[in-house]
Every structure is written in structure tokens, then in C-alpha cells.
Amino acid sequence: MSLRQRRRRRRAPSDNLQVITDTISVISFPMKQIHSTRRLRDTERRPSHAPGLRPGWALALLLTLSACGGGGGGDSAPATGSTAAPAASASDPAATLPIDGVATFESVPSTRAGLTYGAGSAKPIRGAVVEIVDGVGATVATTVTNATGAYRAFVRPNSTVSVRIKAQTTQSAGATAADVSVRDNTNGDAIYALQTPAFDVGSIPFVRNVSAPSGWTGNGYGAARAAAPFAILDTIYTTQAKLLSVAPATAFPPLQVFWSVNNRPAAGNAAQGDIGSTAFTSNARGFAIYVLGRENVDTDEYDASVVAHEWGHYYQAAFSRDDSIGGPHSSNDRLDFRVAFSEGWGNAWSGIALGRDDYTDSFGPQQAQAARTSLSNAAVPSPGWFREDSIQSILWNLNQQVGFKGIHDAFTGTLRRGAAVTSIHSFAAAYGAASPNEAPVLARLLGGQAISPATNDAFGTSETNNGGVPSALPLYRGVTVGGSTQVCVNFQAGTGNRLGNFAYLRFTAPAARTYAITATGGAGSNPSLAVWGAGSGLIAASSASGSTDSVSPRLPAGDIVISVNDINDSIASPCFTVTIQ
């Protein structure tokens, strides 16, 4: 789904107004309007606990919404800016009795010593869906918690209800709220929810707080891990808030998060908990993040760095472009530059969003071990454009020195639209175009990592660091329409997704038409092709078996990029002749 399509899904102000005008039954409005209603509710809350005030409140709300209609959205308050308890929907006119409450979860710090349960604290469950359900489980009122975890709902006096807090935020909570849900992949993808026992509400207003404990009982999880889904939701809420701080009108595509106490770092069937690792996925079903949860092996619900890293991949896929092929990687590896950029960005983003200078990941018996990575460290061994540590250092320090706005503008600018694949070079060019005044800061950071400091060179033509793999430069080799050129790949740095595994070519398509692109290798080789175009992203890819591969896409006029790799990895340094007709 393109960004343009996603944005179309946002409601027009008139739509929201219509809903309110019709019934007052569904509070569905942009966050700007929630912000505007805050003053109203603050003043109303003092006398409001008397039944019967709600119609007046609704009228005032309607007037407030009308006053806000038609705004450009630039002054919209992000979701985190709201501190008033959002009011519940209530189509039942007899539902006049307010229930107020605060929803919290037990947050366990993830430190370099692992999870420190003794330092746990209650944090608000922010932006979550609250449902008031009756004795048979039917929903009688719906609202959302605000930035302090507060909610308000209206029910019938003397009725019997339960309060349910779902590990879900929804688009209807406001234009800037994302549709995010935390689900159990080992249990029918069901959404996690806290639920109180049923209680009689009586006839006077009262408070019903809800808290989710971690379930830790001293040396293990001896009780339900109620807080876990909400800890994940909270990290995502925080990452969204960081993006909203520079792009308040952002509309988030839906995101499903899958967590289970059975989620292990094992290959296999995700429905059985074998998810491989905490990871982001993007496919025809949409965007998803799988999160580990197996006690004494690896749990990530409190490892905010890990969750935020994966959300960084969501960000790049949803709002920018990510050409990474993924695969195994670590700080030790010299990587294909698409992979290095994507993973380095994920790490940097975790620190940018969470306000941290390190990345921690707990695991092991009682979650008492941890891996820690410094994000600020610029002393990367053998640095370069192929090192994820170099990328994370550059991006984290860039944010530290000049803020996130320019980074976001680069991601959503020419990085997304250019022909060059996503790498630190194409990012630098996009940054230079979007934030020319801050570009010298980026140039210094690039130079500090032995990367070409040019901030106007998306194809890295001035790059001189080959990472010990001579064939890695130039980054893109020229080829002409009607001609051919030879490129070689190699496995000096490893296989699959490493530096030198892919060769890149570029040419200028003189006109929009169908082009025949062929790569031919020697015996035993198995070339694979991919083609990108300016403004088009990935246009074509092929992985046919045999020593020749070809594609015949219709290409736009302008810059075109081709990648070639050898699927077999069976020849030390296979070479391919690439022709374009």
C-alpha cells in the first residue's frame, strides 16, 4: 500500500463532525480535537459526577469540534499531548453514570544486568482501547486511555459491568493514533485484554483503576504475565510519539504485534511459538512484528530497544523505502550496504525514539543476562558504509546534534523516490537535499566512519573505502542501452547478504519502454536480477535457475539500477555479462 493510499483512509473533518452530530455515540475525531476538548473536560470533571450532565457536555463538545473544523492539522497535538480522560461512546441514553479510572502496567527495566524486576514501576497504559462489558460480555461503552492512562466511560446506574483494557490502539481514537494490536500467535491471533471481575456500579460516580502485574513471583513467572503485551504497546506508543513530534499529521498503517510466552528463537511454525527471533515482517497481510517471550531463554517484551528497533523497520517500510534483503548480521560483519543501512538505522532509531544512548537485550535464566551496544560510540573497528555499527553511530549522533526532523525529511524525501537503492549514500544525498544547512554535520559524521562525506552523491561515486573487497567499488558500474558490461561478485566477506555478494549497475533509460535485461554467467553459476527506477522503487526481479537470467520490464525514462548476485554461491568469484536491449 502506498503512502498516498494510506493517507486517503484518513477521515475528512466533515466526516468526524457528522458522526458527532448524529448521535454522540462514537467519539471519533482527530487528536487536535481531543486536545481541544481537554479544557472542556477539565472544567466539566469537577461537577460532572452528577448524573445528567452529559448532554450538556456533548453539546459543548460539538461546539468545540465545530470550532476546530477545517484546520490544516499543523498544530495538531500528538497523542502523547493529551492528558484528559477521553470520554466513552455510549449509544444508550440511559448510560449517564460516569466511571473514571487509570490503567497501568508493571514496567520492568531492561539494563545491562538484564531485567531488574526489583526496580519495576507502574506506568500508564496509554492510548489503549477500553471497553465496558455487561454480564454476557457484550460491549456497552468504548473509550480509550489518554497519555496518563486515564479513561472515562458512562454506564447505566445500578448495572453490573466489567472493565476491559485491550492491548490495542485504534485509528478511531484519533487521526494520529495508530491501529496497533498485540496478539497471541499461538492462540488464534487473539488480542490480549485485561478484564476486571464484574461489579455493580451503583448510582454514584466512582473510580475503577486497572493494573497489570508482570507476573514475576521472585524466581520465575509464577502468575499470568499480564503486563507484557502492554509493555510492548507502550514502547510502540513512545516511538509513534517521536515521529509525531516532527510529523504531527502522520497516519500510521495498521501494525499487528505477535507475542506469546511460547515464542522461542527457533525456526518452525509461528503458531507453535517458533518465530525465529523478534522480527518485523511485511507481506500481503500487512505489517507485523513478532516478539520473543520464552522465559529463561529470551524474552523481549521489556526490551524496549529490541521492540523499537523492529518498529524502525516498520517506519522505513511504511513511510520510506527499505531495499534490504535481511538475513543474519552482526557488528562483526561486512554487509551489503542495503542491509547495513537498514539494521544500523533500526539500532539508531531505538536510541532516538527512546532517548537512550545504548541498546540492551535481556535473555537467559531469569532474564538476568543482557547484551549491550553503545549507540553513541564512533570508534567502530574497520568502519565503513558496509558496517551497521557505522550507520547507527552516524544516525544516532546526527539526531543528537541537529535533531530528527532532517532525518525524517530525508527518509520521506529523495531516499524514497530515487533510483539508488537504500544505503547511507542515498540517505546522505536525501539529507543534503532536505536539510542543506545541517548537511555539514552529516558530512563530518560520514568522514568519521571512513565514508565519502559527499551529501549530494546518492550513487556513492566518490566512495573510496572498499572494505577489503576490491570488487565492491565502484558501488555502481555503468552500463549503456544496447551495450554490455561484466560484473563480478565474491564471498570474501561471507555469503548471502555480505559485502561483495551483489554487484550493482546503473544506466539512464532514454525513454519509457520495455527493456530486455540479461545476465549470463559461467557454468555452475545462477544469476539473479533485480531492477529499480526513480520514483518507482523495485520494478522487477527474477531468480530463474540456470546460468542466464533475464527480465523485460517496462521502465520509466531516467535513472535505473540493476543488482546481480549468484544464488548458488558455488563459485569463488562468479562473473556475469549484463546486457540491456
Partner: protein, 176 residues
Amino acid sequence: MKRPAAGILAGLMLAGLVMPLAACADGVAPRATGEHARTPTRLETAPRKVNGSGITVRYQVPAATAPGQTARVTLVLDDVVDPDGASVRLAADGGLVLLQDGRPQALPAGRATTLEVDVTLQDAAAGYLSVFTTQRGVTSVTSIRVPVAGGTAATGSPTRLKETPEGEKLIVIPVK
């Protein structure tokens, strides 16, 4: 995939340079790969976590093992680039019981290490062998599923699964 590592491994195996597990807690003698006729014919590569040790874990497990019977898991640990070497520790998870000592043992730099690990499975659910690898002070863990003949892995608690009148599936966690 992993052609260079496989080449190293083949050379090491020919030279008998594979490493058995350390002393066994239950008295089962550690055995070097060379003592067994079986050579792994196809190794699966275990998932690697972001920002982990960087060590590649490949493995082979029997297709299915009856509860109570011994199964042998073959591990090949590669990509030890730190000149000081790395280490591995094993742990049982789920219905799996380690028949050998899982305490940490060293992995030499620059070459693959093969381990053969004997385990049993206690019940009808799958068991998991957790492999903790540490390099340059960074540890990561991967789990290897050892399937039970006719068994299925445990999944979430069905008692908490509710379907609302609106048709939505929820895992309802009671709270006070």
C-alpha cells in the same frame, strides 16, 4: 550457502578436529564426531538475533523421536572471528532433557566446531535445545526444536481464549 564454512568443516572432520562436549553429568561419555559413522547430510541454519554474538549455529535433528528415547543433535558453530575465541552453553527447554553437561565450553577462533548432543524427550510435546553463544562479550541464544513422534508443541492456554459477542477473539487476563 555457507560454502566456505562447509569447506573448513569438511577439512576439520577429515583431520578429526571436532570437539566433543565436556564431561557428562550422567556418566555418558562424550564422543567426538569422528567416532560416529554419521556425517550430517543437511544442516539447518538457526535464526540469528539482531546485535547478537555473530556466531552461526547450524544443526541437524532426527525427524522424530519417541518419548523416552535418546536423540542426537548435531551442532556446527561457525564464524568465530574473535582471536580470543568464543564459547557455547547448552540448556534444555520444554520437554527436553540434556544427557550431557551443558556448561560453557570454548570455541576456537577461525574454524567451525562440531558438537554432538544426546537428549531425551519426556512427553508428547516437542522439546527445545537452547544454544547460548558468546563472542566479544556479547551473548545470543537460539532454540532448536527436537520433535516428538506424533507430538505437537504446546501452544497458548485455550482457557483464556474468549470470543466476544461481536466475534472478536481475546486472550482475557483477569485482573483485580
